[in-house]
């Protein structure tokens, strides 16, 4: 296999990515010389202290944020120089997100929170409805499909968020501290769901976590300190 082919096949390739936030006159280097590759179907744990740049890395990998410099290639698409319009379309079609805080639209039911993904892109209609029902079933919340987020428990909400992230058949899903709001037991359940879903579908993922215990659900752990990626350990 040639190098190019390998690169194309990768779910994520970040090369020398640097992100500088400008706050007034001062500059905060949130990410520096970040090199990271994620293979298709691979689940990478991203572990680091608060403020180390984990969310920044995910945002850049998912096309929400543009890097100050460096290259970002997701599923063979180089998004480094994408305009914000192109990034929007890219997010819609290629990546899945589970955010740290707000993940669901409160006036949409669980099922509609999944279907909205289809509404944002080129609509597939009944295919999307079938897919949403299948995902809700796999996640064990089919009986909650018509509940509003306010009628769901924390664990159920997180499952809906995971389902939403899977709706567009993404190349890469970014989980930003998916268990931080849950107790240990629920956190383990959610990590199990994440692992199963990713592995069944062969989708790559980055799971940001504080909790070292969560890393055992992942294939590999990457540490980040002060915006620099350190030591990779495989499981």
């Amino acid at each position: 296999m040639s190098t190019t082919n390998v690169a194309v096949d990768l779910a994520l390739r970040m090369e020398a990515v640097r992100k500088v936030y400008r706050v007034g006159d001062s500059e905060i280097v949130a990410l520096d010389h970040a090199d990271l590759t994620v293979a298709p179907g691979e689940i990478v744990a991203l572990v680091g202290p608060s403020g180390s740049g984990k969310t920044t890395l995910c945002s850049i990998a998912g096309g929400i944020l543009s890097a100050t410099s460096g290259r970002v290639v997701v599923g063979g698409t180089d998004i480094s120089d994408f305009s914000s319009k192109e990034l929007t379309a890219f997010r819609q079609s290629t990546v899945g997100f589970v955010f740290q805080s707000v993940n669901l639209v409160p006036f949409l039911t669980a099922r509609e929170n999944l279907l909205v993904v289809d509404e944002l892109g080129r609509r597939t209609g009944s295919a999307a409805r079938k897919r949403a029902d299948a995902i809700l079933g796999e996640l064990g919340i089919a009986d909650r499909a018509n509940n509003l987020p306010s009628q769901l428990s924390g664990g159920q909400r997180q499952r809906v968020a995971i389902g939403r992230a899977l709706m567009n058949e993404p190349r890469l899903v970014l989980f930003d501290e998916p268990t931080s709001a849950l107790d240990t037991k629920l956190g383990e359940q959610v990590m199990t769901v994440i692992r199963n879903e990713m592995k069944n579908r062969g989708i790559a993922a980055i799971v940001v976590t504080h909790d070292e215990r969560n890393t055992r659900y992942c294939d590999r752990t990457v540490h980040i300190v002060d915006g620099r990626l350190e030591g990779t350990s495989s499981h």
Binding site: C58, I64, L65, T88, F99, Q100, S101, F107
Partner: protein, 373 residues
Amino acid sequence: MFLALKEMKRSKVRFLLLMVAVALLVFLILFQQGISSALIRDFTGAIENQTAPVLVYSVDGQRVLQASVMTPELEAEVASVPGIAASGRLGVGTFTVTADGERVDATIIGYEQPELGAPSRLVAGRLPSARYEVVATEEDRSKGFDIGDTVTVEPGGRALTVVGLARQSQLNVVPTLFTAYNTYVDAVAARNPDARTPLPNVLALTPEAGLTPEVLAERINAVDLNLDALTRQQAADKTPGVSQVKQSFAVIFLLYGLVVPLVTGLFFLIVTFQKANSLTLLRAIGAPSSRLVRSLLVQVAIVLVGGLGIGILCDVAISQGQVGSLTLEFNPGAVVFWAVLLFVLGIISSLVAARRVLAIDPIAATTGAGVGR
């Protein structure tokens, strides 16, 4: 559509309330518009809905039919102006009459020829053909002014017989009787036997073919500063008080008209702030901002169309009836005007909220904090 409709479905009450508020304002505007035009119509309908295209007043009359006096000299001056096809006298006076056993004020308008001052909106019966016959105003038919009724001029007891009814032809919001000029002169004499034959109040003219009423009026006004020639519509609009009433109502309408976009604009701005988290989330998972703006505009359009629809329906319902002595009339022109204006203003007002939507930075979704500022 999906997002717009789902949200409205889940927050029915607030969107319905807004719709009702818009409907109420629309109804108030149309209702007051109806009242104001009914008021003005009953004030000057006799001028607007009569046959003569040009009316010549004396300047001293200040455009009030009863106050204007046409001396023989002024009459002769008018007659000398080229371009007049026909000319006739009008006599106008306010009388006390007994109708249906009650004494009421009424206006009597005497004209010499049917095409020079007779009512143009005859809806029942016929024009007077014999002496002491009159056409009365339709609005007053139930008050002893119906066809076949006899109305008596007081004092003097001159009896007049109603032979026809005219619509929207009152003068000064009282029952108005159209009759032959000599019957009018008789009525004046009956009331006051010692008075001399009254002078005509105004002259009614038709221009020769090829000449517009405006041009004829200008020609007459150029002859003598004491002559005040006006077209039919000008004469109605320039009756003292009419433009003041119109202006006062216009100010009221303007205020109402501004409240509608203000209310919708503010409502959608607040709603947009309240759901900023959701909008940010949607932007982050790949919703183009144009999609979210479209969804907002769909909601605004639904609320406006719903509010306008309900408001117009209420107006249609109330336009069938009477308010006090005023007969309201459904006015499609006004409805279309206000519907279009309020819809456009409502949409424009929501652009403030649309700007907020466009300003949303999806990055805020990753922190969860700092959304909606």
